[in-house]
Assembly symmetry: C2
Homo-oligomer: 304 residues x 2
């Protein structure tokens, strides 16, 4: 166990997009900018800022263009946004993003309820997004959700998720993030999934997007790490979840992931203390206590 | 990875003792009994009910004798109580308990602040408890706290915790529960600790008592499981912590542990749905929202 841990793991921070889109009360642009600034100050190297969806779908993200335009990140930092269709891609290109992301669900029912498309229709739509984006010199990431289970269908055949992943990679996506959207994953299942995927796909082509809804996110991350996964999505203070999956709550908190990784001698490029501050900003911005653990407990410090 | 998982794991439930002693407002006896009844109804097989300490130390536990006398458990269920000294043992014997527990800290500073004794003095005190208890036909468990780290001293030498454990086993304790009292443990550290202990001590002689203060409890439990540990302490809904360790909060929630284990095909003897109900009783009894995840999210159920 743990005979070949990596020196570094890549963390993909999703809080501004996956987190703030779920807030009932709209978050002012300046507050979003505070959160983004705090995350970048903590050393986040890959950051999903927003989603270029129709403001009629998600009014909370109507300020997407303005938010992206206002961010200045140091060299080497990747900023990204979700783009469900060609129109979203055009907005992303117009504001100068170098990376975008597309998303669908491995479960037909969940995909239909979430996007009003079949899985095939979703992938067809991506054909209007991915090739033009690549041609424009952008990189495209993809999310496949409900890989560990669907709130409507229950078990989802891992071979189905793999086939979708392979289609997305063939389309030109550089990485596919596999989501435990409703947070039902347990370690043996994660082992089976990772072993299946890693037998067919290079490790750097997949990421794990784990939810801590039932407390198992870090245990599942550990399994992925042990089996060769080097890319993990997370959200500061555990902000966000999936608004379309009833009962879902709790992205894996970035602080918790970083605390575990640093404790294992694995670098992330992130300053944990500054990240904990960013988690406090996330709580201030949303006006709620957020579920992550480390931003509440603090990192370890000696007591007098 | 996971080539030799067990069919069953033994869970030692500590909420009535470790949880309720920390509540600022005293919990009425009837409320404690409701919690105990709910835990036993869920199939808990090992239950630490209370602590026979001086009511001047912990007034919340002044009803210890009455609580134990009122519990009727089915055959095969082990009820226990913490006994810091010979007087506590006499009370435990008088109310008919078949198992007691003693405790100390691996860190001198923490032990001193917690018990006002050196580690040697604590073990001396146990010499007045353990042999008479064994002679009376009782079993004695021991807790060693701050094994993963001390709030005052920081790192604690694992060899020191092992030496203390060996003295406790030599004294006649049947099992030593190793505590991550302040919840700072990470998986590589847990691997090192478990490998060190399991090289010297049979697996059934140790248990892991993990705190989820920084979200790593299940990841650490998974490491223990992989390395051969079969005994885990936990507390329903994550009730309790250590009142003497500043900033400490969050026993591993029993529901979260059971959810993970059952998801891996490992039996616990516990009915998860009934356990979630017991977690709700714990919240009602304490009047607080408790930090465990599964009692909040529920186990997985299909949505319409």
């Amino acid at each position: 166990m743990f005979e070949s841990l990596p020196d570094k793991v890549s963390i993909y921070e999703v809080s501004p997009r996956d987190g703030l889109q779920n807030e009932a009360a709209p978050i002012p642009l300046a507050a979003k900018q505070r959160l983004v600034d705090a995350l970048l100050a903590a050393g986040i190297e890959r950051l999903e800022l927003t989603s270029f969806v129709s403001p009629r779908w998600v009014p909370q993200l109507a300020d997407a263009d303005e938010l992206v335009r206002g961010v200045s990140a140091r060299p080497g930092v990747t900023l990204s946004a979700l783009c469900p269709n060609a129109k979203g891609f055009e907005r992303a290109r117009a504001v100068g993003l170098h990376e975008i992301a597309v998303f669908l669900s491995a479960s037909e029912t969940h995909n239909k309820k979430n996007t009003n498309k079949t899985v095939d229709q979703s992938i067809d739509t991506f054909s209007d997004v991915v090739p033009p984006a690549l041609e424009a010199g952008m990189r495209v990431r993809a999310y496949v959700s409900t890989v560990w289970g669907c709130p409507y269908e229950g078990d989802v055949d891992p071979a189905r998720s793999l086939a979708i992943t392979q289609r997305l990679l063939a389309l030109g996506c550089y990485q596919v993030s596999l989501g435990d959207t409703i947070g039902v994953g347990t370690p043996l299942q994660t082992r089976r999934l990772c072993q299946l995927f890693l037998a067919e796909v290079p490790a750097d082509k997949i990421a794990l997007h784990l939810h801590d809804t039932r407390g198992t996110a870090l245990a599942n991350a550990l399994v992925g790490l042990e089996l060769g996964v080097r890319d993990f999505d997370s959200s500061v203070a555990g902000l966000g979840g999936c608004p379309y999956a009833p009962g879902a709550a709790g992205n894996l908190a970035t602080e918790d992931l970083v605390f575990m990784l640093h404790g294992m001698g694995i670098a992330t490029g992130i300053d944990l203390e500054a990240l904990i501050e960013a988690g406090r900003v996330a709580e201030a911005v949303t006006g709620r206590r957020l579920p992550g653990k480390v931003h509440q407990a603090g990192s370890f410090k000696l007591r007098g």
